[in-house]
Amino acid sequence: MSAGTPAAAGGSLREAAVHALGDAQLGAALRTLATVIGGRRRSAIEDVGNWEELRERARAIKDETLAHLDTYLEAFGANAERAGARVHWARDAHEACAIVLDLLRARGAARVVKSKSMATEEIHLNAALEAEGIHPVESDLGEWIVQLAGEAPSHIVVPAIHKSRGEIGALFSARLGIPLTDDVADLTRTARRVLREQFAAAEAGISGVNFGVAETGTILVLENEGNARLTTSVPRMHVALMGIEKVVPRLADLEVFLTLLPRSGTGQRLTAYQSLITGTKRRARDEGPEEVHVVLLDNGRSRLLRDPLTRQALACIRCGACLNACPVYRQIGGHAYGAVYPGPIGAVLTPQLSGLTTGVELPFASSLCAACRDVCPVKIDIPALLLRLRAEVVEGTPAGTAGQRGPARAARMERLAFRAFAWVARGRRRYEWAGRLARVGQRAFVRGGRIGAVSGLLGRVVPPLGAWTAERDLRPLAPRAFRDLWREGTVPEDTPRAGARR
């Protein structure tokens, strides 16, 4: 995340969100993201006649795979190794970093290029390599920009969306010593020139994997820039990090995902390049790396298999469509989430993968509008997952409340409030008296027929009231309850009837 932001300093989501909302340039960037990518996605979908059917099919493939994940993973591993790749298995982030470090050391590789991989962000691989004196150079333009800026990516697909061309130009000028410019073509040419030297000198390339095919041991890497092709072909060693949920059964299954993913993510029919890499080259003189390693990463994924509801989060193909559709993400951007995976899928994955030790506020930052569910190419029911996670956090599972002052206290207050409400609502007389008290008590707050800001003690004791009325007025309770009027047999003259116009 941006150095100096509340999220980076370990602040709460609320603080980070308020900070983000005050950033006008970020707001403009996010508006562009929502409208432009949203429009491109819609056009790209129009040219597919059976989009809904494809979503069903993709989800069915993922469900089938996850239901037999061990079988497919074993087949993937065996087939990849038969073709000459080495397959490694990592239980967690620490182990994955250790494996990659050992591979680099064994090869004597100090110069490393990387292509885009959210999984490598998840395991904090760059930090682990830096600690051992290896500086991996990001080659995806957006990732390279945030790397130069010392920031984390703010979006799964467009990592530097939060930066304006002016900021990027200033960054390049400061860090690379080039003349100041904000021309996109010039900046891109600079990136090509500088990174080309890195590719030529690289001794190892680290990439992610979009899909792994069990039937053949093939890994598929999708991209637009060409940096992944370079990363996976020029250096003598290629290390590919792959989440265990990325496996699909058959080569033919790739078709439906290649139809859904680019359209959902960037509004393209296909990205410029897909590399289908199976094992290592057959002959020494062939083009390509001498060694290909695939590191399979669990890191909390297997635990999600226990429950069909949580399991569907593993169907995610990292298209980013949910981020682009989310009204919350559109307002606060990726950094405010303070997590590797932002947006709706991040709100679901981050707490789950960490066993409810991180990101427990994230499931609450949603209006449950379900825009994410509508655009998800594999039909993940994110709102259902958010509700489940909220319940788990509020119920205060030991892992969920460990070290978290905010949510635990809020959970206790909330439980108290609901218990109090339940007690009042269960007795008719109690309920009526509560109403009478409220009608009297509210008079102190009513001005000109409305309740304005409820500040002070009441606003703090009932936070939703304070928060709501900070921005909006409330209508007061009517001076007399309808049930009293009903009992009297009178209904006032000026009571509006249904459909009547004022």
Binding site: S233, A252, I277, G279, E287
Partner: protein
Amino acid sequence: MTRPAERGPRADDEARRAVLEDVRRHLRASPAASASSRKDEGVGAAEPEALASGPALVERFREAVEGVAGHCVIVGDVAAAVRAVREVLDRHRPGRIAVSDAPLARRVLEAAGTDAEIVGEADTASLFHVDVGITTAQWAIAETGTLVLDGDAERHRFASLLPPVHVALVSAADVRLTIGSVLAELARRRPEDLSRCVTFITGPSRTSDIELTLAIGVHGPGALHVIVIGGAREG
């Protein structure tokens, strides 16, 4: 960060067993899933017969390539392809040209004639300093304007990637309609015959990472010229 322990084959094996056991354990703990229905039809909507092959298919491919900022011409024969290549070389005026080991690519380049230095089976380092790369493609996909390069069939992994200009020759007979049909052909091979690197190329390299503004030509070629041979309507 503590220095991680060095791993040996036993650690690898242990990790593999542990991950698989974790997966199995969590799957066992879950309720039995309902059988998912798998349909194995093709992905795309049913296409009219006319587009399954022939000039209409090739034309659709050409349009799709142009639609992603590539250049595509359809020519009747190799002689016409030679002329097309010459035009591309005249436009770009390369000092050095990389050519793959495909006989067609070499024949066409030689016939086109050029003063440029021709780099054949060069090492990677020298391919970084080449202006134009000429290769063939093993298939073309009409619905997306995609070239499919089989790295085992031809040495074109770098010639199609490093130079800023890529010229690709493809036979009209190798144009398919869908991604699925090419994947099916690949899957039909015996596992040991599956190509070690297959690359799908759709247009020139591009990015929208800066303010979502499209920039063509990042790390891969910025110009893609496709010449389809044998598909001209004149026959």
